[in-house]
Symmetry: D2
Subunit: 142 residues, 4 copies
C-alpha cells in the first residue's frame, strides 16, 4: 500500500549488519533505502538502463531527517513522489515507514541531475523518464 502523500512505494528489507552497536539501523542504511527505491523505479518503471543509456542520473544532493529508530528484522516501506522537476534535474521526496506498524521513521530528499555518460555534462531528462515521472509520481494540488 502506498503511504498517504506518496505515489509509489517499495519494501526495503533490512539486514543483520545494518544494525549498529546501539542495535538500530545505522544512519547510512536510510540512504541505501532511498537510493534503491528511486533507482528501482527508474529501471523497472521508467525504463532507464543503468549502463546502456546515453543519459545517466547523478546524485547532486541528498538529505534525511530521522524521526524514530528502527531495527532489523523490521522492514521499511519507502514512499516516493516527485518534487520539483527542472529541465535537467528532478527532486525526489521520500518517506520511510516501519512496515509492520506503518509509523513514520524518516523523511528524505534526493536531487538527481541527468548527465551525458560520455561528457558528464547536464542533459535534459530523457523524455520517456520525464513522462513517467509526470504521469506517475507527481502529487497534484487540489
Amino acid at each position: 500500500m502506498v503511504p498517504d502523500g506518496y505515489r509509489f512505494s517499495r519494501v526495503f528489507d533490512t539486514r543483520w549488519n545494518d544494525n549498529d552497536v546501539y542495535g538500530h539501523l545505522n544512519n547510512t542504511t536510510h540512504y541505501a533505502a532511498m537510493d534503491t527505491t528511486i533507482t528501482s523505479w527508474l529501471i523497472e518503471t521508467a525504463g532507464l538502463r543503468s549502463t546502456a543509456d546515453a543519459a545517466m542520473a547523478v546524485v547532486v544532493s541528498s538529505s534525511c531527517t530521522y524521526l524514530a529508530s528502527v531495527s532489523f528484522p523490521e522492514s521499511l516501506l519507502v514512499g516516493l513522489r516527485a518534487g520539483r522537476i527542472g529541465t535537467t534535474s528532478v527532486t525526489w521526496e521520500l518517506g520511510l515507514y516501519a512496515e509492520s506498524t506503518g509509523s513514520l521513521v524518516a523523511t528524505g530528499q534526493f536531487v538527481h541531475v541527468f548527465v551525458d555518460s560520455a561528457t558528464q555534462r547536464p542533459v535534459p531528462i530523457p523524455l520517456a523518464v520525464r513522462d513517467a515521472i509526470e504521469a506517475q509520481l507527481v502529487v497534484s494540488a487540489c
Copy 2:
C-alpha cells in the same frame, strides 16, 4: 517456497549499491544474505535475543562457492538447513537462488560457536535453540 534440500527459506532483497563495477552483486553481498538468513531464523524462530541472552553465536568460519552472477534488482531466495550439530557449535548450509527464475546462484556454509557473552568461552548450544534446529532444520536421511 523452500528450495529442494533445504528446510527454511527467506527472500533477501538486493540493493542498488550491491552491484559493483561489473554490474553484478559484489561477492560480499552473498555473505550478508547468508548472515541475515541465519540470524533472522535464530531471532524469529529459535527465540535467540541478540543482546539479552547469556549465550551468543559467533562465526568461526564461512565459505561460499559462486556458480552464476546475479544483479540488482533481482532478489535472492536463501535456503537454509543444519549440517553438523556439535555440543557448542553448529554448521549451517545454505543455497542462494535467483528468486525470479529459481536458478542456483551460490552455495555456502557458516559455522557458529556459542559463547558466553561475558567470558567469550564456548558454552553448549542453548537447549531451546538446539531443539528448534533439530526439529526444523535437519534434513533427515531416507
Copy 3:
C-alpha cells in the same frame, strides 16, 4: 593536513565494493565517511564510549552536496568542524576531499542529539564532550 576552514581531519579509505555500476563511489559511501569521522573523533578525542556512557549521540538529520565523482582506490580526506552547539545537540560540518589531489568532492552536515541511553530523552551534551568540541572544533570568527 587539515583542510582550510576545518579543525580536524581523518583519512577515509575506500573499498572496491564502494564503487557502483558507474565506477564511482556510491552516494551512501560519503555518509559512511562522515559518520566514521565524527564517531572516531568522539571516541578517540572526546572520550565518548559507545556503550558504557549514560549519554549517546543520535543522528537527527544529515545532508550531503556532491561536487565531483571519485572512485576507489582514491582515499577521502575528511575535514571536520563544529557548527551550531546547542544545549543537547551539535551540528557537524564536513568537507570531503580527494586525498591525492586535495580537490573538494563533497560537503555535508550531521546533527547529533545526545540522549539518555535508557530513556532516549534528550540530555545536555556531556561536559567533557562539550569542552572538547569548543576547544578543538570551533572555527573562531576573526
Copy 4:
C-alpha cells in the same frame, strides 16, 4: 610492514558501521577487506583495469576462518600471497591482522577465474598479471 609468510600488505581501515550489535566487525567486513586488498593489488600493481580489459577476474569461491574479534576504530593489516596458479585461475591466500598489535584476526582464501568480458568464458590469466603474480606474490619454498 608485510606480515611473515606474505609478500604484500595493505592497511584496511574499518568504519563505524562495520561494528555490529556485539560491538565487533561483522563477518562480512573481512571479505570486503580481502576483496579490496586483492583488487587494489590487481589494479595498482598488476595494471588490471576494471572495465577496459578484455579479461576480468571473477570470484568463484571464498572462505574465511575467524580467530579473534576486532572492532572499529582498529584497522586491519591484510597480508597477501599467491597460492595455486592455474591456467585461468589463481588462489589468493590472506592473513588479517589487528594493525595496532599485529595479532592475527583471521585467515582467508579467494579463487579468481579470469573470464572474457564479452563471453564470460574462462581465458588464460593475462600475461602481465601472471608475471606480476609470479614475481611478487609467490612464496618460494626453501
